[in-house]
């Protein structure tokens, strides 16, 4: 089963994503980081296959963390899950930095799982 790390400063989004991931039977959530710096630490500790990460977080934001993660870990696949997905520049920047996809909030469970399956 593929391991997923959730990175979002919002407790409620983390709860939603954890539920979708764990109830899928295909993925398991290995933890929740609240900002980019925590994500980098937890990626090292938990070695997830996939990271679902917000962009707009206090402290280290998602795009800054993405820059580091793709250098530190060539294997991990990062999907941005953000309310800013519809901002063309942000979407493009995320893909250019190495994100595999961008999911806009609000999201549908099936849409999240479909994107995770395609990785």
């Amino acid at each position: 089963m593929k391991k997923v790390l959730v990175v979002d400063d919002s407790l409620s989004v983390a709860r939603q994503l954890e539920k979708i991931i764990n109830e899928s039977g295909e993925f398991t959530c290995v933890g929740h980081a609240k900002n980019g710096a925590e994500a980098i630490k937890m990626n090292h500790l938990e070695n997830p296959d996939i990271i679902c990460m917000d962009m707009n977080m206090p402290g280290m934001d998602g795009l800054t963390a993405l820059r580091s993660l793709v250098v530190l870990d060539k294997e991990v696949k990062v999907v941005m899950v953000t309310s800013l997905g519809g901002v063309g520049d942000k979407f493009t920047e995320a893909l250019k930095l190495g994100a595999k996809n961008v999911i806009s909030k609000p999201f549908e469970s099936e849409n999240v799982l479909q994107i995770l399956r395609e990785l």
Partner: protein, 288 residues
Amino acid sequence: MAVKFFGQFLVEKGIVSREALLKAIELQEQKNLKLGEMAVSMGYITQLDIDRAHNAQFSKDMKLGDLLVEMGILTINQLNEVITRQKNTHLYIGEALVLVGAMSSEQLQQYLDEFKIDQAPYVSERIELPAGVENGRIWEMTADLTYKMITRVLDLQFRPEKCKAVTTLESNYMMAALDMSGSVDARYILSVSKGLQKTVAKAILREESVDNESAEILEDTVMEFVNVVCGNVAAKASQMGEIININPPVTIHPSADGLPVPNGHLALCFPIHVSVGEKMDLFLIIKQ
């Protein structure tokens, strides 16, 4: 379920690959000249003029075109010609995808039609603001999108009251606030009554009951709703050619007297009536 741009819609639907989209964006970046580059290509200014104007931008908060005119480098007529040329020669993402072979022209038209249907729920409707409000079209769109998200995400029926300028933000059970910068300098605030906080929490957590949830989680759901609305406002603004950056949201617990509007700010209030005793207000605190 969110405001999207065309490229994102196509990748999400699996119509084009991430790689094809990046290739098309690269082509757009080569073809679509920035204002300064276009003015140089038209022979109106030199690269040195652009460098001078960029240096001046450090001390003046002005767009490059306006600054070039103010510095006497470009006439207003030349600026208008440059902007017109930019618009007329702009390569749109769909056209770029056709050029890189990701789809045919016929498919482009078909997908554009599908995209319009997907985004139809987010087409802005007119909302009346008090006279003379700067950036009115952005605030109208912000209020309109808030209403649409209340309907679509929270599944609530409500009656919006006419927007009014206020000097005090009326108190409520809690408020979630988010600061916006870029083309605007403002704070978005949504206040909710206790009952509506639970309604928001049920919708965001997708739970039947939130009676056993902690106060922290309940507050977080209102912040997340505000974050989702404002992210979509930023997306819609970018389609209008405006840049809106958003900060992470925070909560406010107002006193019974409400919150005074800071000096130098205009506060717009959009009352939203849901049911007897349950009310939310959208406030936009705009720096003047």
